[in-house]
Amino acid sequence: MIWPRRTYPVLISLEAITDLKQILQTDDYVEIGAAVPLSHIEDLLHGIFPSLDEMLHWFAARQIRNRATLGGNIGTASPIGDLPPVLLALDATLKLVSTEGDRSLPLADFFKGYRQTELKQGEIIHSVTIPKAIASGATKRLSQSYKIGKRGTDDISIVAAAFVIDLDADQKILHARLAYGGVAATPIRAIAVELMLVGQPWTIETVQSVKPALREVFTPLSDLRGSADYRKMLVGNLFEKFFVEHS
């Protein structure tokens, strides 16, 4: 007798569905099928979204990236999934399909609570669309992602963060996205702080002025990986690190 770890009465694997394994690239966006293995995304989309490239490098190891998928990492709705913060910061949208038809949903509206999502009974995540355009009037986009874990590779994150800042020619912030994992029941954006940043100059003074708000915007838990205080500190400090690396 061989015991399985967990049993499920009915399992439906989406691994063999060609429709879910396509990557479509246009001038305006990239659409990634929910069942594309991460190692294919690494290969085919390298150089388009720096924050995605960076996080894929830290996302588990080669063996897992050969199997794991974007749709799976989103659908499992872990608060510390590595890719959702990256995709939130990039304003990704999901295409959900069912026998009733298709619908499109911003990823930001997908996560409802701990391991709970907007996916309705009968729906499947079809693909993830990431827009390429930067904000209207912007001349430059800065973006990066960070993963803090107990060790560099092969570990669950304590906090993961992804940032997108669009600047105009005068270095004024036109668009800001600060997204985090490991700080709430779901992957989440610091929307209040994003709003504070828009219109401000991209300077260390601006970054430091929002750090107190960033520290308080989430109420993370303490667990064996890190205390709530440590996580709050990371939320602010990772954004400052991003500034230091991109100014």
Binding site: I2, W3, P4, R5, R6, T7, Y8, P9, V10, L11, I12, S13, L14, E15, A16, I17, T18, D19, L20, A34, A35, P37, S39, H40, D43, L44, A60, A61, R62, Q63, I64, N66, R67, A68, T69, G71, G72, G75, T76, S78, V97, S98, T99, Q121, G122, E123, I124, H126, T153, D154, D155
Partner: protein, 224 residues
């Protein structure tokens, strides 16, 4: 009314294990490939963490590269439900020596890359896949394998000394003829059903038929 799909349920399926046909029946589709191998005497594949962290259970499967061509791929057998292996080809550490050690095994012996030996089959299978993919020069090919005694320097040296070799053996020569296309499967044992449709419409209809079904892509998370 929802149209019933009624895919033909089977109580057994086959996959290729080290070149021979292996028939799976009477076991849960969520039994891991690792446990299946070990229960069937393929104990070269080790269980370390059982969690996808350590790489001791690494085996090679034939999958597709990003351009759709057949490719040897290292995977953690502890994170693969056996149902997902239906119709696939799996290669373990027992299956790569051909009268003499495989080049990656010989290199590990030569550089003294194995001490207690527990992590070695996993390293070997990661290096085996990388040998045929031409990615041995990149440490990423062994980033998912942990060693706690010899240290990484001799293992890395083994990988590096083969990095420039262009493989020319039956594994490299037969790869182009391999199919990595997956057929539909509907495997049933006494308690569970495992469906792997090939059409989106089939998957959606299965979901209508079994509203409580659990959807997985490849189940790296779910089998934990």
């Amino acid at each position: 009314m929802t149209q019933q799909v009624n895919p033909i349920s089977v109580e057994n399926f086959t996959f290729t294990l080290n070149g021979a046909t292996s028939r799976v029946k009477d076991i849960s589709p969520t039994t891991t490939l690792l446990h299946y191998l070990r229960q069937n005497g393929y104990v070269g594949t080790k269980e370390g963490c059982g969690d996808g962290d350590c790489g001791a259970c690494t085996v090679t499967i034939i999958g597709k590269d990003s351009h759709g061509q057949p490719q040897y791929q290292a995977v953690n057998s502890c994170l693969v439900p056996i149902g997902a292996i239906a119709g696939r080809e799996v290669i373990t550490a027992e299956g790569i020596a051909n009268g003499q050690l495989h080049p990656v095994q010989a290199a590990m012996v030569e550089t003294a890359g194995s001490q207690c030996g527990y992590c070695t089959p996993g390293f070997i299978m990661s290096m085996f896949a990388a040998y045929y993919n031409g990615s041995l020069s990149n440490d990423i090919c062994i980033e998912g394998n942990l060693c706690r005694c010899t240290g990484y320097v001799p293992i890395r040296k083994a990988a590096q000394q083969l990095a420039a070799t262009i493989p020319d053996d039956h594994f490299s020569n037969e790869l182009a003829q391999k199919t990595s296309d997956l057929a539909a499967i509907a495997y049933t044992n006494a308690q569970q059903q495992f469906y792997r449709p090939t059409e989106l419409s089939e998957a959606l209809q299965l979901l209508q038929q079994y509203p409580e079904a659990t959807l997985v892509a490849v189940a790296t998370d779910l089998v934990l």
